[in-house]
């Protein structure tokens, strides 16, 4: 089993007639940052939901540090507590303040006392630079701020790995930077991350491996260097080219921010 | 007259069948009360809705007050209020002697009493009551039509009245069908207040039958089922009308 934190083995998933995932397999090692990218409809979000069994795969297995998620004896809720998830639309609990959003997991799922949970929550909020907004409600926060609280919520559980589902896709352009910066810091601290994103600057900067998925299969995988200098498959080439066209100059701008510590 | 009767295999067949004639008459009275109150309430409700939405400050306040009071008090109290007016006045002005106002009048068609003080009071109170609820559904529909259309119409040269007539009201009617259907479907339930003033509607007949046969459970359940059937038919009919008159985007 090597020292893989997460092992995804031959995942298949269909919705009715539609086959969304067709035999996806990969490992994620300790402190690794995996970036998954590809055209929309390729099954990327579904893949993440399969990993923490929110949408169990039809075929295949997922192992977290050797524990098989599909095993009926496995307590799936306990496993989920060890896999963090950050959502495209934040999904904060709207009736709870930021601090409570972050503390509720540690308190109710991990069983910490109210004070311990609160302390952890404050640490997490500090980590994402949102400690000043602890007493605010999600409705009072901007998109970027909400997403950072979402990240803190995942961090507070001290998970083995964090899944990011297009974390910046729903954000206004000027807010993307603050979230990406947090994610960069996390990556550099050695957090094990799987990130589904279009943000190639981010990938270029911290990804250990990039996986290109199209129509439910892994078309190509390799380091960022590999993809950005000589991608092999035609589909990957086309896709990357389109992204470059679209983002064009703003890519450059973001690269200067991102390459700072590279 | 009523077409297919639901079958109740475990009920005493002799118990209710003899009374089908009475039940039919009661049913007819209920339906009569319902339609008159619905239509009367519609007309008045439309006026109230227009007054609230497009009337001046005074007019809309009056309309609002009317609606709030009607909706905030029981239908039964409203019925009693109306019904006992002549009795009260009689007792007040002519306590000993011939009554000031006659409450024994009646209007008959083919030997059937279609209007008397009790029926009139019921129709009036039901109609006034329903108007308040219908007005709210209409007003909601009117409000959902963007003010932009009013502006557009007026910039074309329509007067306010014309805009209402040709643009707003037609759209409102269609828009309010879903919510208005609720009132239209469930109003038959409320016709039972008629029994409090001795009108022989469906429920009144039920009480009569029970007093003769003592088959309380069957009779009331059967009659309850009749109300349910009536309501379901009306609701379904309105659904069909809604589907048939669909305009895209509305």
């Amino acid at each position: 089993m090597s020292d893989a934190v997460l092992r995804v083995e031959n995942i298949w998933k269909s919705f009715g007639e539609l086959e969304v995932l067709k035999g996806i397999s990969f490992d994620v090692a300790e402190s690794e940052v995996k970036v998954i990218f590809g055209p929309s409809g390729s099954g990327k979000s579904t893949l993440l939901r399969c990993i923490n069994y929110l949408d169990p795969p039809d075929k295949g297995d997922v192992y977290l540090r050797g524990v098989r998620l599909g095993d009926p004896d496995t307590d799936i809720n306990k496993v989920r507590a060890r896999i963090g998830m950050v959502f495209q639309h934040f999904n904060l609990f709207t009736h709870l303040k930021a601090i409570d959003n972050v503390a509720i997991g540690p308190q109710k799922v991990l069983g910490l006392s109210k004070e311990e949970a609160r302390e952890r929550a404050m640490d997490a909020l500090r980590h994402v630079k949102m400690e000043k907004w602890a007493e605010h409600y999600p409705a009072q926060l901007s998109g970027g701020q909400q997403q950072r609280v979402g990240i803190a919520r995942a961090l507070a559980m001290s998970p083995d790995v964090i899944l990011f589902d297009e974390p910046t896709s729903a954000l206004d352009p000027e807010l993307i930077g603050e979230v990406l910066q947090v994610m960069l810091d996390l990556a550099q601290e050695g957090t094990t991350m799987i990130v589904v994103t279009h943000e190639m600057g981010f990938a270029k900067s911290v990804a250990d491996e990039m996986i290109f998925i199209d129509k439910g299969v892994i078309v190509e995988r390799g380091t960022p260097h590999h993809f950005f200098t000589s991608p092999e498959s035609e589909r990957a080439q086309q896709f990357l080219h389109k992204l470059e066209e679209l983002y064009g100059q703003s890519e450059e701008k973001r690269n200067t921010l991102v390459d700072r510590d590279a | 007259m009523m077409g297919a009767e639901p079958a109740f295999p475990n009920f005493n067949p002799l118990g209710i069948e003899e009374w089908l004639g009475e039940l039919a008459a009661g049913f007819a009275m209920t339906v009569y009360l319902y339609f008159v109150a619905l239509i009367g309430g519609f007309v008045l409700g439309l006026g109230l809705a227009l007054a609230r939405q497009y009337g001046g400050r005074v007019l809309s306040r009056i309309a609002t007050a009317y609606i709030e009071v009607i909706r905030g008090t029981p239908l039964l109290a409203q019925l009693f209020l109306i019904y006992f007016v002549p009795y009260s006045l009689n007792a007040w002005f002519t306590p000993d002697g011939p009554p000031l106002l006659d409450v024994t009048w009646s209007v008959r068609i083919f030997g059937v009493t279609v209007l008397n003080h009790a029926i009139f009071s019921t129709l009036l109170s039901l109609g006034l009551n329903s108007a308040a609820y219908q007005a709210e559904y209409m007003r909601g529909a009117m409000a959902s039509i963007g003010s932009g259309q009013m502006l557009a119409a007026q910039s074309l040269g329509f007067t306010k009245r014309e805009t209402l007539r040709y643009i707003i009201i037609p759209q409102s009617f269609r828009r309010m069908i879903p919510s208005w259907s609720n009132e239209a479907s469930y109003l038959p339930k409320y016709t039972v207040v008629a029994t409090f003033v001795a009108v022989e509607d469906l429920f009144g007949m039920a009480k009569l039958i029970v007093s003769r046969t003592f088959l309380a459970l069957q009779t009331y359940v059967f009659v309850g089922a009749l109300y349910l059937a009536l309501i379901s038919v009306i609701a379904k009919a309105l659904d069909v009308i809604y589907e048939r008159t669909k305009i895209p985007g509305l």
Partner: protein
């Protein structure tokens, strides 16, 4: 005149409030269970709940009261026969309210965004925890306007209970004015005022905040 007012307030109002409270409480329990059945239960459970709602909404309150007081009073074998009519009325109002509150809660539960449920599960919360800490707290807040409307409906429906002997406001008026028919009009006016005082502030405060208040809540809660 003042005596009547006094009697109305002291005897009629508390009884009316009592029956209202009981009806709402019973309706709350039934409604919550039915709503959960409809939203999270199996398909069959959903049909049962829906059928319950349809039937209870389609029968006049008065008929329901009669069914339970005169038709089926033997259900309440454990209650002293003199009390049975009153219990019947209470139960009728309760199960009727359950049908309506089920609609209210179902709509409210469904309005809590699915994303939050997913997030809660992703944290590792069990389904039960998700309901208790995330969905229901928000659902109850969302349900308030519909609920305040239902309160008004039940308190008005309690007037029908007078027909079977429950000593609520209208019954008291009937008793008192039996010998003084000229007092009918004024005392009915007062009764109307009393009901209004109990319904309007609540529905105004908790009601749906729409342009010009008085939202689209009729006798029948329109929801989902």
């Amino acid at each position: 005149m003042p005596t009547i007012l006094w009697i109305l307030l002291v005897r009629g109002v508390p009884d009316a409030l009592q029956i209202t409270f009981f009806g709402l409480a019973m309706g709350f329990g039934i409604g919550l269970i039915l709503a959960l059945m409809r939203v999270y239960g199996t398909e069959e459970m959903g049909w049962v709940a829906e059928a319950y709602e349809k039937v209870l909404r389609g029968i006049p309150v008065l008929v329901l009261i009669y069914i339970f007081t005169f038709g089926a009073s033997s259900i309440f074998w454990f209650v002293d026969p003199i009390q049975r009519p009153i219990v019947g009325a209470y139960v009728a109002l309760g199960i009727r309210s359950g049908a309506y509150q089920s609609q209210i809660f179902r709509g409210a539960i469904l309005s809590v965004s699915e994303g939050q449920v997913i997030a809660a599960r992703a944290l590792g919360m069990t389904g039960f925890q998700t309901q208790i800490y995330i969905v229901l707290p928000q659902a109850f807040r969302i349900a308030l306007p519909g609920w305040s409307n239902e309160y008004a409906v039940v308190i008005k429906d309690s007037s029908f209970a007078s027909d079977v002997g429950v000593f609520e406001i209208l019954k008291v008026v009937q008793n008192v004015t039996a010998n003084h028919p000229e007092l009918w009009l004024p005392s009915m006016g007062i009764v109307t005022l009393i009901y209004f005082v109990f319904t309007y502030p609540v529905t105004r405060y908790f009601g749906k905040k729409q342009k010009g208040a008085v939202g689209e809540f009729g006798r029948e809660v329109i929801w989902a």
